[in-house]
């Protein structure tokens, strides 16, 4: 209720609190401080030189990009997508196909090279500059997103969820099974569970190629992606399109009656959300040096969705936090802290046998403690409180 109240007072902002920061401070100053900390952190030797840690932080940032992408589809436009892993797969395969030795037989085993330097020019396979690959990944995933979006246009609610889930599973299956179908002179389309590996490392103009053991440049590149995606996200949210998404989410019939083009708006949501997934997928493939079909499973879609919901549906900063929290939980808290607990207190108990349950329990706990997400979006929050007033403790709110 108090939130709804502050919402009402929001129009004249300077009215009530003396020390309220001006709008530019909120939008620029605080993000700038956070960004500054993120930039400075790796300069501390104990952090920057710890490659395993730097890599995990880079992975966490890549997850932030993914979660922000899914947030456009689920949070802004209200289309429940359970097959987000498909875009991860397309982004990763953009790297696997266009920046690795996978298609070793093209061009008489001489390879095709585009704006790459160093030793790479001598390798067989297709090798494009990483920036070009990023563009390819974005185009590929945007198209994929729209194609996957098409059959869901007439669907509502959870029917969308199952169709996107179906697409995610189909793409995952293709990634596993197409290792038997050969193209371009005898190379299989995907390498299945074998994995396409190694893939080219990021090689930016004017900079030294990124290396295996120094993860600082990788981290900064991920940070750059996050900033870029955040910027686009804010611009999108506050644009005409962003308002159209919210309008569709809140009440499709009314929105269409008011002249919001439903088809275009929904496809834009799928396309934009997918593009971020592709961007992040391509980056992850290069960082982790492999494109393996084992990565593209349903559980990954659920992980990204959990980041979005845990952070707060539709809330950009919330989703950022949700992604970071779940990354920490998965890649550090459980394997490095909880698993070591028994041996630290001198017990002979193998924690790894109950890790599943710990992970499940933590998800459960977080959701019960903060059902609206860690940092809920204002509009969602408003809707919540309204409901709480009118229908007190009855059923699930439905109608998202």
């Amino acid at each position: 209720m108090s939130v709804a109240a502050s919402e009402a007072q929001q129009t004249p902002p300077e009215q009530k609190k003396g020390f309220e920061l001006p709008g530019w401070a909120e939008k620029i100053l605080i993000p700038a401080i956070v960004l500054l900390i993120a930039i400075v952190l790796p300069l501390i030797p104990s952090i920057g030189e710890n490659a395993a840690l730097m890599q995990q932080m880079a992975v966490a940032l890549a997850y932030v990009v993914m979660a922000l992408g899914l947030n456009i589809i689920v949070g802004f436009a209200g289309l429940l997508d359970l097959g987000y892993v498909a875009f991860f797969a397309f982004g990763a395969f953009a790297v696997g196909w266009f920046a690795s030795g996978h298609f070793a037989y093209v061009n008489n085993e001489q390879g095709i090279h585009l704006l790459v330097g160093g030793n790479t020019v001598n390798l067989p396979g297709i090798h494009f500059n990483f920036l070009i690959v990023l563009v390819i990944a974005v185009i590929l995933t945007t198209i994929a997103g729209m194609i996957i979006g098409l059959p869901t246009l007439r669907l509502r609610g959870d029917y969308i969820a199952i169709v996107t889930l179906a697409f995610g599973e189909i793409i995952g299956r293709l990634a596993v099974n197409l290792d038997g179908t050969t193209i371009l002179g005898g190379t299989p389309v995907t390498a299945g569970r074998q994995g396409i590996s190694p893939v080219d490392r990021i090689d930016l103009p004017f900079l030294d190629p990124f290396t295996v053991l120094d993860k600082k440049p990788w981290f900064y590149f991920a940070l750059f992606l996050v900033v870029l995606v955040l910027f686009v996200n804010f611009r999108l949210r506050d644009s005409r399109m962003g308002r159209a998404w919210v309008a569709l989410r809140e009440d499709e019939i009314a929105a269409v009656a008011m002249g919001v083009p439903a088809v275009k708006t929904k496809l834009m949501a799928y396309g934009a959300g997918a593009a971020f997934g592709g961007l992040s997928g391509a980056y992850l493939a290069s960082l982790l040096n492999t494109v393996n079909a084992d990565q593209f499973q349903f559980s990954f879609s659920i992980l990204v969705l959990a980041m979005v919901i845990l952070g707060g549906l539709g809330s950009i900063w919330g989703v950022v936090i949700g992604a970071i929290v779940l990354s920490i939980l998965n890649n550090w808290l459980i394997p490095d802290v909880i698993n070591d607990l028994p041996s630290n207190v001198g017990l002979e108990f193998d924690m790894t046998q109950i890790t599943f349950a710990i992970y499940g329990f933590l998800l459960l706990l977080m959701m019960i403690l903060r059902p609206q997400g860690l940092l809920p979006e204002r509009r969602h929050q408003m809707e919540l409180t309204e409901h709480a007033e009118t229908t007190d403790e009855t059923l699930y709110t439905a109608r998202s």
């Binding site: 959870d158 169709v163 099974n177 046998q353 959701m367 409901h387 059923l395 699930y396």
Partner: protein, 351 residues
Amino acid sequence: MEAASIPAGPPASQRVKQLIGTYGLTAVLLIMPVWFAIQDLTDEGNLVRLGENLVAGLSNGAIWALVAIGYTLVYGIVELINFAHGEIFMIGSFISASLIVTLGLTVDSAAVPVFFGLLAALLLAMIGSGTLNVLIERVAYRPLRSAPKLAPLITAVGMSFILQNVGLLWKGGNQQGVPDLLNAQNTLFTVFGVTIENADVLSVVVTIPLLIVMTSFINRSRLGKAMRATAQDPEAARLMGINVDTTISLTFLLGGMLAGAAGLIYAMYQTTIWFFQGFTGGLIAFTAAVMGGIGNLRGAVLGGLIIGFIQQMSDNRIGTEWTPAIVFGYLVLIMVFKPSGLLGEQTRDAG
């Protein structure tokens, strides 16, 4: 009613659309069976192979149908995709398998102890799974009733991880063989060259009475009426004096019991159980529920049977590694032609 001023018929494009709307779905559903029937007839001159697929498909599908009903019931009343439901089904299998082993029943046991043993296992699995489902609702979903719609989805996922871990600790990571009490793959009789095995009979014999009891309970009894009322409009139902909490618990109980029964049939039919079976089984059953029109009981059964049939055809002719992709491909096609599922009604959400 047809006033002269209204143009005679819909334009041609509209008519094509209508045609696709009416017959497109049927055509899609029939593509595979008809294609394979033609193939069989030209290659072998009879339909035995397709018949075998159909029998295996229906008996496998019956198991999915039982699980799918749980999804549909829960969805109909609280609009929640209960991701933990597959794990309830898995726990049902584990309970019955453990009981059978505890009772000391083996392949060589006589018919009478086997019958009563199975009956006991069925009851215990149903009670166990049902109770577990109710508990899950209390712990993981009820506190989130007033939360955003997607919040319980995550607790459901969390719950399913926990239950998987329980299964893992209980029976280990490998698939576990279960004593083949019924000699599942023994040919019982043949009809037109199609062999009917013990397992096929078991799955049909247990499933059909359960389905009849369930539908008549929901259609006839007071509690069933309360369930339907709550599904239609929880607010109005509450005003009419229906205890919504109890009704929801009851729904979870029924869904869990059916999943438990499915668990027993699965264990006896496949004679192998696995802590991860609930994940795949749940996904398939959920697909079945959606295919049939989520919220619709008959739809869930129909969806389960169709998926069972598709799976067997694909296993037999295309390759098991493609089966999940084909099932999901079918689902997408059905959704394109009939967005609310085969027997879909207007649920609150879709309306």
